[in-house]
Subunit: 354 residues, 4 copies
């Protein structure tokens, strides 16, 4: 919703993560929707909840489906979400009598939340990789420069002599903690949503088999029933995202402070140039890490506002989640890649020596 | 930075304002940059700060300039902002000896902040129009249905009988207040930035004439000197943006509550459809107004975090502004158009009657 | 609600403003309540809305009233606010037949919001004084040390030589702006609330005379009718409070950065001691200013969440205001006094010099 | 820092948790400080890091120590925290030559963070109990009224018939999830801090034995080294606190909506009274739950801002934690007790029925 940092090419490329953007693109989301419906058809056909014939006809349609995206976009203002028109279009393609077996007993939230979970699945895979990469870079940095002296500073004041390795250790610890935390969180957020109109899909016969089958086919886990209104998993995941940017924000702030003339405790590969002062080398990446951390911290507060999710589905709270969580994922992914670039580009670090 | 609500066409069209998006597009921002530089050249030539010959050569280049946007995007990660590469490209086009007169004594923040002010100028014009439109719609609504009875409710409980006009009055009051507040705010936010590298442009001879000339040509006002690090005008404007969405959020929440079966105090033109329950008419616009209000409230907190803007320019704080303020403008503009649509689409309002 | 920073004497005295705390004390609030009721009785008696006899009996009771605070506290959990029990106690004291004239046609929100406005009135008086004091201190600082050289820094990097006066100028500008803004805001926030149960007090005969009389007697202004649910004045005031702490947070961060060994651009009167490192002089006040700024910025986001104030009175939104705004007032007041102490305690400032 | 909701007895008793307030009282914190120092003396004496004689003299002094709280409060403004003066006073009591063994190799943050962990330990014990109690109450409610019909509502609209049990299930699920999450979190937050001046206590000989001994004696766990600047455990805990209030906020909002006349789906034991409308029964507790949820969500954003914790100790970030986390604990504890009262006071629930 922020055009400057999303689509304006004079600003967005600094702050936006291409991989996350691609994963939340229109075409990928449509592919997720299709995958959800195909898995549902299979699962419901397996248990006889819908007929094999109907399922086959529906699946064929889904496989070849190219939605009219403009028509979906046009319906958003009345429907509030893309699923009703997506389903209408697909049902029209399928036609009677098979169409009645399509999207049976499920609701828009099932497909949207599940597609969100699928995006998380892929993005978490990449976040894991990036965390491992930055940890490796920090280890390398510590190996190369760890023995250099560095003045420990508390409350911004010189405190006691220490080494570069000792400054790096908490940087690494927060990334290692995040890596370990993510492993535990993934099954809680990469989780199938299957609740039906008011969260009672579990009353559909053999619903558990449906969930098992779908989760397997979509590579998602199964939670304890649906999570239509109980969004603690989303909140926990958002907390994790902000924890990562917070940790990287600390790295950025530390490096920014070390780069000050007068302190001179780090030499960066490439500082930014200035339109007015060509002699300056600005620690741009360090600063952006702090800004991304601040940003995610603020969004996290909003994700938690969305926990107050009334009744069986809140358009207010759910829409607020959309406005916050994917952006946090983008910021976290971007912070990791920028952090990696910053750390691996350090030419020297430690109090002025030699 | 949120791909789902910015560019994914299955979600973004609900929440994004096209006019604001267009105003913050790459090409419009480049046009703003060019306008700033042209106005600066004129102003500096008028006082003899640069030669007429140089100014003419520079202006000719600016007029015909088509930047290499990809090259600018590539430099963002090192420069942190688009101006240095934009200036490099233009200077290369201008060539020696004239290029030395280009971008003289100014800094990236002058051009970026001024172009932000120009975007505000145009968007505020439209926001004014939309506020007037929604006030007119509320007046019309009150004219048509104002005499209908409505149970006044406090703390969600039926309190005393009142009329629809009395419920509408505070809705209108918040919009009227916003309209009046905006008029007072515009000169504070649509303001030229002209500070130079560390905010000392006022020491340039005849700098005041430069500012006068530029402000006139760019249709901006002049503040009390530069506002590089003193961002209370940005904070105040963000506060206003969130005040508007807050007021519209109240309208949305009230209407959502009135639309509940059992209360039945409003009939909407078009409620959204449901993929599972075709009989439902969801008050989608009402809910989106609440979500936009929640969202802007959270961003406002971040704009204020960015007030702690260290030294003569903070990459951290300034970048955080970019991540928040244009998105708030989009949300406010969108809330006004959705609010207008919601209000003007009310078919009936008041306690069940006839 | 935060015991550590409110009442624990090992932490609270650093962060809490005694004057604001006293102004929001139980006894002062009771005095405000009594003042409101007395003014209401006068106003309603003047127009004959209640009889002189009844008014006199009621006023006599109010004048001598010592409420049973424990009983009020006990009723909070069922009533959600102190007024119903306060009124019950006073009516019991007044007794029949006069009691029926007491608290006539008004509601809890009238008395609570008006008493909040009265506290604002007194606190704003003091905030004005403190702003003037810190501006004077900044002027003095600039007079004494303004000519000292100082390296201008942008993006945390040395940029260009400037002077101490040029660093101080934006500090002063934000305080001067705040002072000027407050003058304009005071009539918007120090405003009588007189709305009645569902905001329709204006339908009471001669209600305008009542408001005029009460406003005069309570030294409050009159807005355009009641502001039960239209809280843009509260939001604007909260924005102002956070603008002040944001401006002081910048001062704090700048001074904290200047105090770093290696930069050595400021000598503070008294830095804090360390339990482990007696040689350190921590720039405690500078850091606290940043923390207070961060804190207020977050609370402001919540005040704006409370703009979504449903129907004729929202217990949810209003309670959220109580949890945020007085704390912001305390933080702003405290930041001003700590900022004053910090600034006036500067022994030297500028790049290292003889 | 918010006098209205912390100490004003006309408001605070509604929103403040007495148990949390008491646990963060001055005397309890002093007791925590003393416990920390005693445990440190034992641990360091056990390994011979300090002499038995010195340790015994110090412990005797600690045991009988009554600090001069006023003197500590007076030092806050210069020291920024209570520990330096606390240590000075104790060292003065101990006297030479033993005093040199006191507070050996540790820093203020060790004692303050550890005392925070001790408070968490006790408060988490109580939060566990309250979570169990509210789960039991929800189970009882479901037992008694679960079979009652209730209209499932999505996007505030009547969707499909369901039962009261089905509405209650997600309420219970969020509490059960919180209970289970807390068990996993306790060892991460109830954790000894032992880092020394710049986080290098692990270089003290036999430091591991010291930590083991202290953790055992203080009933805390041991993390992976110190957590002076790596505050993900605090952030995670704050996330959990807000998750609980978010879950209870949903319960509150649902009940508030059910209590509307026209919906009439719940009968509460005691709704609040109104000063103007004695016939009203306001769902005060339901509303307060929403306000507490909103409040904690906002504070969480600030706790995450404090993750950007520069160098070896940030007075800014750490102070911000103090201003937020204990208040969140109070709000969570209070929400649990109010939620319990609300749920257990439900007299009937379900769509209107005989």
């Amino acid at each position: 919703m922020n055009p400057l940092t999303s689509t304006n090419r004079l600003f967005a490329p600094l702050l936006t993560d291409d991989l996350v953007a691609e994963r939340f693109s229109t075409s990928r989301t449509i592919a997720d929707f299709n995958a959800f419906e195909a898995a549902l058809l299979d699962a419901q056909a397996e248990t006889g909840h819908i007929s094999e014939t109907n399922a086959a006809a529906c699946k064929e349609a889904v496989k070849q489906f190219t939605p009219d995206i403009d028509a979906i976009a046009d319906c958003l203002i009345s429907d509030g979400l893309p699923v009703p028109e997506y389903v209408r279009q697909l049902k029209a393609v399928i036609g009677a009598p098979h169409a009645s077996a399509f999207h049976r007993d499920v609701t828009s939230q099932d497909i949207i939340d599940s597609s969100f979970a699928m995006a998380c699945r892929d993005i978490n895979h990449e976040l894991t990789r990036r965390l491992e990469a930055i940890i490796a870079s920090l280890d390398l940095l510590s190996e190369r420069f760890g023995a250099n002296p560095l003045t420990g500073r508390t409350r911004m004041q010189a405190a006691l002599p220490m080494t570069v390795a000792q400054r790096i250790a908490p940087w690494r610890a927060s990334m290692a903690q995040a890596l370990s935390d993510l492993a535990g969180l993934r099954p809680q957020i990469e989780v199938l949503q299957l609740g039906g109109p008011v969260g009672l899909y579990h009353e559909v016969p053999q619903s558990n088999d449906h969930a098992q089958s779908m989760a397997k086919s979509l590579d998602l886990s199964i939670g304890e029933g649906q999570w239509h209104t109980q969004r603690s998993n989303v909140a926990k995941y958002a907390n994790w995202l902000s924890q990562v940017t917070g940790g990287l924000g600390k790295v950025g702030l530390d490096i920014g402070l070390m780069a000050q003339q007068g302190i001179n405790a780090v030499t960066l590969a490439d500082g930014g140039s200035s339109s007015a002062m060509p002699h300056k080398r600005n620690p741009v990446l360090a600063e952006v890490l702090v800004a991304l951390a601040n940003h995610n911290a603020g969004q996290l507060g909003l994700v938690h506002q969305a926990l107050v999710h009334e009744q069986e589905r809140s358009g207010m709270a759910w829409t607020l989640e959309w406005m916050t969580v994917p952006g946090m994922m983008s910021s976290t992914a971007r912070a990791l890649s920028l952090g990696q670039k910053l750390v691996s580009g350090i030419k020297d670090i430690g109090d002025p020596h030699q």
